[in-house]
Amino acid sequence: MTRATERFVPVPADFACYETDVRWAARVLDTGPDHLETLAANGFPHADDPERGPLFDHVDLMNLAMYGAGNGQTIPDLAIRFLLRFADADPRTWYEPREWRVRVRPPKHAPAGLTAQEYRISRPDVTAPGIQAIRPAVADGVGFEVVVRITGAPASIQDRQIWDVYAELVDALNTGTVVYQAVPERLRMRHATAWELGMADCVVTSRLLAERLRAAGHTARARRGYLLGLVGSDHAWCEVYEDGAWKPVDVVFASLAGTQRFDASASFVAACGGGRFNRLLPCQADDAVALVAIDDEPAPPWALAGVSCQPWSAG
């Protein structure tokens, strides 16, 4: 696992939050506390606390988990594999109308007594193309529940310039020039800095792509919401306006396809450049800002919402 630290970019100290102690870190990595002590002694980024010992950044630990085991069995690896399994199915099933019941709630270990003003969860954007509220979002504590019909649409980007900018970002991830990894929320909002540091995730790539396309004169925006499936997973993508429609462009899906994590068909890769899938639920989050905030600040990892979703039928 020590060598895994060479496979991703550690969070720079000025963006890191060294608050995770050895006990919790050992749980995240499914290893013993001694191993964490060794990692710290060997220079893995941390802060020394006189009472709590070495403290680590949660995002660094997630990346260590993802790149350390190398067996495809870590939670991030499995999440990618399960959430993108739909790509194995008949392409027609990517677009047909699907109805989902989605519940979003604070995690079980969130402090009791949080109010909706303190703990803000972005609601679905039911005005987005292909999204129809079957049952409008209703408050459920500080969370919400909604039933939506999502209708996808096959499409592909026609403009060569858009395609080239998109392909350049996909290529950077595929060649390892930039590493696909977890990125802390504050650095996600500084997407150009993250990219220059050589680290990117879906939020970084969607914001960067939208920015580059706008700079080239196109109408583009970064979107953020949930990828629905086994669970609801925070995901971001870019949309570009072409031929009278918003077309999603997904750098991360396209990059993950064909990697060891997720082996998808060529038709799925092509669909990532303009096709709208029937399991992406956009939320009200301009420029792909955080979906969960506490006191108007992006929620820390321990406070991220639990998202359950399941196929819904009126019957």
Binding site: Q73, R85, F86, L228, G229, L230, V231, G306, S308, C309
Partner: protein, 78 residues
């Protein structure tokens, strides 16, 4: 249903949580986190010795759903 509960408990950080979850309850809404759900899905795949389909994964939301899935292995073909 016992097989399903045994499998789910194996993947919970705090197995006692399952004692407070009814068969039809939504696991995530009842406090099972996404990492645990993912491990439960992996456990089902290992039990059945095959990959779950996208539809099966999406429907894996309760103890009863897990039980329904696991019972496949006990049902003779033909």
């Amino acid at each position: 249903m016992n097989d399903a509960r045994t499998l789910i408990k194996k993947y919970l950080d705090h197995p006692v949580l399952l004692d407070h979850i009814d068969d039809e309850d939504d696991l995530v809404a009842a406090g099972v986190d996404s990492g645990e759900i993912i491990r439960i899905a992996l456990g089902c795949e290992e039990h059945l010795r095959r990959a779950l389909s996208d539809t099966e994964l999406a429907e894996l939301t309760s103890v009863r759903a897990v039980s329904r899935l696991l019972s496949e292995k006990d049902t003779p073909c033909g």
